[in-house]
Amino acid sequence: MSTEPDDDLGKPIGLGFLPQLWPYVRPYRRAFAGCLLLLLVSFVLELIGPWLMKLAIDGPMVNLTLDSVERSHQLWIYSGGFLLVTALGALIGYLYGQVTAWNGQRVIRDVRRSLFAHLLQVSSAFHERNPAGKLTTRVTSDVEKLNELISTGVLQSFFDLLKIGGVMVALFVLDLRLALFTIATTPLVILLSILFRRNAQRAYRAVRGKVALQNAYTAEAIGGVCATRAFGREAQVQSRYQQLNADTADSWRDTVFHFSVFFSLVDFTLRATTIGLLWFGGSAVLRGEALPGQFIQFWLYFNLLAGPIRELGEKYNVLQEAFASSERIFKILAEPVFPAPGGKNLAAERTGSCEIEFRAVDFAYRNDLPILQTVSFRAGPGQTIAIIGPTGSGKSTLLSLVSRLRDVTGGAVLVDGIDVRDWDVRALRNRVAVVAQDLFLFSGTIGDNVRLFDRTISDERVWQALELACAADFVRALPGALDAQVQERGGTFSQGQRQLLAFARALVTNPCVLVLDEATASIDSATEARLQQALAAALQSRTALIVAHRLSTVRAADCILVLERGNVVEAGRHEALIQQDGHYARMLQSLACPAP
């Protein structure tokens, strides 16, 4: 999903985010403590098992001084003990799995919830920088990796270290010389294990990259079949695919190599160590310095050690990735929200006058690149302002300032006489409805898309809005009407239908200011007539700001703003501007040969 490469390998682990993580862990700290306790108990049980084994072997099995009844009696006792330990161990393992999952899943649920909520509040500039797919990865797979860290990673690793230490102590207590021998070979095993994991990880990373490339190209080769055929480039595509395919296969074979070599090596080293143990231990038993049961106990303990050591390298890598994910998550959480909290948060009464005013508005993304310069105008209720101007003259930016998707860099935008920065932003956006040129559809039903999932809006009101937007007819014709599922981002709707639905979406909340980007040329006449009708109805009692593309709209407007490079070069009614014989008049001159 993520397009950026996972370059966490070899990066130092940054722990700077831990203080930020703590508030999420805090509510569950008791349960986490419980997990640790369970781990400790299971460790003790793991130590008890081999000890019982030793007692059984050195006692009833080998000790021939006891009579056979007594021996089988003892054997039953030890077996019972062993059963108890095994059952308890399984139970505790099960409990531990439950509790950690319970904890971890809840923590990540909380993190995911606040991450998502936060992402809906950050500035639009942030969203422009970060594509939706990338942010989705943060909310899904990065949070999953955090789970790895919380539910298994830290505790388990901590416990593994504890276990290695504990078993080492036990080994020393049992037999000093054997323990020393073990200690001597352990670093080699650890080194091999880490080396192996590292190389395997690197090889796998290469595989992942190659596979991703190949899969992407597979999709391209299939999706681009028309282009390939039209230009007769089948052979070229085939050879490129074969190249990628060979690369992938090579890197797979590389992982096979690592696995075969290193795994065999690690296993063989461990085996050699046990054989060494056998040699030393066996000699000790032979010399009468140890009992066979004791030796078996030692040997079983050593096996307890082998698992964690083998997995050390793996754990390290998992932790590293989890830390990198956490860093990314908390970096987003540190992103400032827009609009910043504070301000007056006024929510004017609905009876306000619906007035928009731009007072010498400046806007720039960068200081040296002004998009809007001292734009001023005013529109009262029932009035329509038409904005015209060439591409890049700042029309869309101007519209986005009204509902405060961005803040002005100079001057002020006022709605109902109140600076938009003093409005409660939800109340403001409730009053101002925006009709975009293209309808963005969410997956769900048509009804949900019109009311934007607001359950308080009844079907009746949705139908009213659809009627007003002249969209009721075609919605009624859909299978299921309001409950029709939107397919493939609404690809089945025509341009005109999408525009009408966008209207309905805006009108359903009954706003008093309409901001709209009028549709352009590729709509058939019938739909155009309906659109015009819908527009006229919608504008009757509302203040409107329209980026206009139709002469009829412009002509009817109460004021026409001609924008050029962010400046209002002309303003006034149609007739007045024609008389001025300036920019507007010149724009219309290119229509010199209109059909009657």
Binding site: L75, S124, I222, L286, P292, A595
Partner: protein, 638 residues
């Protein structure tokens, strides 16, 4: 490291293979690829139905023959498996002997020399590692070869299939057959061969060794093991079910999040964020619930697996211990027995996942074979160098399964060097007409003629050599801009390339691109704007320098100013090239020798620009509207 026999499972496990079940998405509306209009309800049958041929041999015939091509390596790997099993099973015996020999108590059954045994063990360990290394290297490597060749063959086959077939088959479906399904097939041809073969050697031999030592203990131990594995297997379906549900839950969550981020401005403008946060919290809760159930099951299965070792030891302790006491068995033999049992666990597990995987792998092999069973496009026909006199006579065309025809009674006659404009609303059949000219679909006989030949009598290659095609939704490969432009003619000279780039008005964009012509465009050209992509596609068509140019609304996302530049350039460089331009933008066709106005597949109006304007019909209305919009500065997005 005898106790942890499960550590050998280092090939990707079944559980790690991504599930290749068909995607949970609902069937989608089938779309005409050119006009993005819904042309028919979803159709599932685009692959040959092989379900009647339910024979495993048939499904795996192709990969098997590929495997046989490497039979020397396969034999080497396979021959290493039995000795490996022998060594593996021999070692516990030595261990047992050692233990018995070092007992201080009397009656060491088989006294051995400790030093010799240790060296022997070391040598056997080495042999075991070496044998395993050889069999793994050879068998897994060969399976990768099989995978590679199978994929190459599959893609080569895809290159021969008719274009129309790709409309019906979803890209995702074909891709998953080429990736996940081939992967499962490879799994049978490699890891399964290795581990399955190993299991087949070790299981019977191991059981024999144990039974030879003591039948009742063997029965008891095998019984316990069998029960545990049966328990695990019973839980498996539930595990699959829950993990699928959990996957679906995170899928739903992820899809919604993606949509919310993509439509964030709409959410802001309508103040819908709190509702979305609440909706997300619901999905999050659902995911949590399904995940917790999954984890509960997993930890139960883990507990069972982990207690297996303990339980086996217990059984052996209990039964074997009394045998020792009775003198039937020595401690060393007891130990040896334990080792056998633990050695059997991994093969048993392998057997389990083989049983679980085989049906899926069989289905996957079938799906791959279905791909090969699709008939290639007809390639016969006269291979002639065409001049480009195109004549269409009473063309009627329907997409298979569509309710009404996409084109009805369309006729025109276009002489070489002339320009034909085709216009009309979305879904009126413009793109279909162009696709038929390219013979992406089969027109009815006697309807489309090129240079006096019915297109059905011409080879597709010679038809496509006539046209340079620039589609509405250009397809860019994730390569450099240069490579994309040169796609149709990789051997083009630098000056030709520059000329095409200039003619497509791409020059002025180059300074904005980080590496100019060598900028990589990302997957499907994501780093370029829609207009830039269209112009790359146009440059590609121009560079291919074919006698005829097909423009399918190629300039729809290009702003008006640039469009004007391109049209002027095109006019200057046409040099007798035939042009067919389908478009919404009427400015593209004003200079055409004839213009067809299509509506619902029928020719409504026809004539030159001035003739059509004087008719005051569809064309005239649309032209007036477009002039208005462009005058007011709004024509940049049509």
């Amino acid at each position: 490291m005898v106790f942890d026999s499960r550590g050998h499972a280092n090939e990707p496990r079944v559980a790690q293979l991504s599930p290749s079940e068909s995607s949970p998405l609902p069937p989608r509306c089938r779309k005409c690829p050119q006009c993005a209009d819904c042309i028919a309800p979803p159709v599932g049958r685009c692959f040959a139905d092989l379900s009647s041929a339910k024979k495993v041999t048939a499904a795996f015939a192709r990969p098997w023959s590929l495997l046989c091509a490497h039979r020397r390596l396969v034999w080497i790997g396979a021959l290493c498996i039995p000795p490996h099993a022998f060594v593996t099973l021999w070692m516990p015996r030595l261990w047992g002997d050692v233990i018995d020999s070092v007992r201080i108590s009397t009656g060491a059954a088989r006294p051995v020399d400790l030093a010799t045994t240790c060296w022997l063990l070391l040598a056997m360990g080495l042999a075991e590692a070496l044998l395993r290394y050889i069999s793994r290297r050879t068998l897994i490597d060969v399976s990768r070869n099989v995978e590679q060749e199978l994929k190459d063959q599959a893609l080569a086959h895809l290159q021969t299939l008719p274009v129309a077939w790709f409309d019906r088959a979803r890209t995702g479906d074909i891709t998953s057959r080429l990736t996940q399904d081939v992967d499962l097939v490879r799994f049978v041809m490699g890891p399964l061969l290795l581990h399955g073969g190993s299991a087949l050697c070790i299981l019977p031999a191991g059981i024999y060794c144990m039974a030879k030592m003591d039948v009742p203990v063997t029965v008891a131990a095998a019984g316990i093991l069998g029960l545990l594995f049966a328990g695990l297997r019973m839980l498996m379906p539930r595990l699959h079910k829950w993990s699928k549900l959990s996957q679906e839950a995170i899928g739903a969550l992820s899809q919604r999040a993606q949509e919310d981020f993509a439509g964030i401005r709409i959410l802001w403008q309508f103040g819908a964020e709190p509702r979305e946060v609440a909706a997300m919290a619901r999905r999050n809760r659902r995911y949590l619930a399904s995940n917790l159930r999954l984890v509960r099951l997993r930890s139960l299965m883990n507990a069972i697996t982990h207690s297996t070792t303990g339980t086996v030891m217990l059984g052996v302790l209990l039964v074997g211990g009394s045998q020792v006491i009775d003198g039937h068995m020595t401690v060393g033999q007891l130990f040896q027995f334990t080792q056998y049992l633990l050695l059997l666990m991994f093969p048993l597990e392998i057997l389990g996942w083989t049983l679980a995987t085989m049906p899926r792998a069989f289905a996957a092999a079938n799906r791959v074979e279905e791909l090969f069973a699709v008939m290639p496009e007809v390639t016969q026909g006269a291979a002639i160098v065409l001049r480009g006199h195109i004549e269409v006579r009473g063309l009627v065309f329907s997409y298979p399964g569509a309710a009404k025809p996409a084109l009805q009674d369309v006729s025109f006659d276009l002489q070489p060097g002339q320009k034909l404009g085709i216009t009309g609303p979305v879904g009126s059949g413009k793109s279909t007409l162009l696709a038929l000219c390219l013979r992406f679909y089969e027109p009815p006989r006697g309807t489309i003629w090129i240079d006096g030949h019915d297109v059905l009598d011409l080879s597709p290659a010679s038809i496509r050599a006539l046209f340079a095609f620039a589609p509405q939704e250009p397809f860019l490969f994730s390569d450099t801009v240069r490579a994309n432009v040169a796609f149709g003619r990789p051997d083009a000279t630098a000056s030709d390339l520059d000329f095409a780039v200039a003619a497509a008005a791409l020059e002025k964009d180059l300074p904005q691109l980080p590496d100019g012509l060598d900028t990589r465009v990302g997957e499907r050209g994501v780093t370029l704007s829609g207009g830039q992509k269209q112009r790359v596609s146009l440059a590609r068509a121009l560079l291919a320098s074919r006698p005829a140019l097909l423009l399918d609304d190629t300039l729809s996302a290009v702003d008006l100013h640039t469009e004007r530049l391109i049209l002027q350039g095109l006019k200057a460089t046409r040099k007798g090239r035939t042009v067919i331009a389908a478009t919404h933008r009427l400015s593209v066709v004003t200079d055409a020798d004839q213009i067809l106005v299509l509506d619902e597949g029928k020719v409504r109006e026809r004539g030159t620009h001035s003739e059509l304007l004087s008719q005051h019909g569809l064309y005239a209305t649309a032209y007036r509207r477009q002039s208005e919009a462009s005058a007011l500065g709004g024509g940049d997005r049509a």
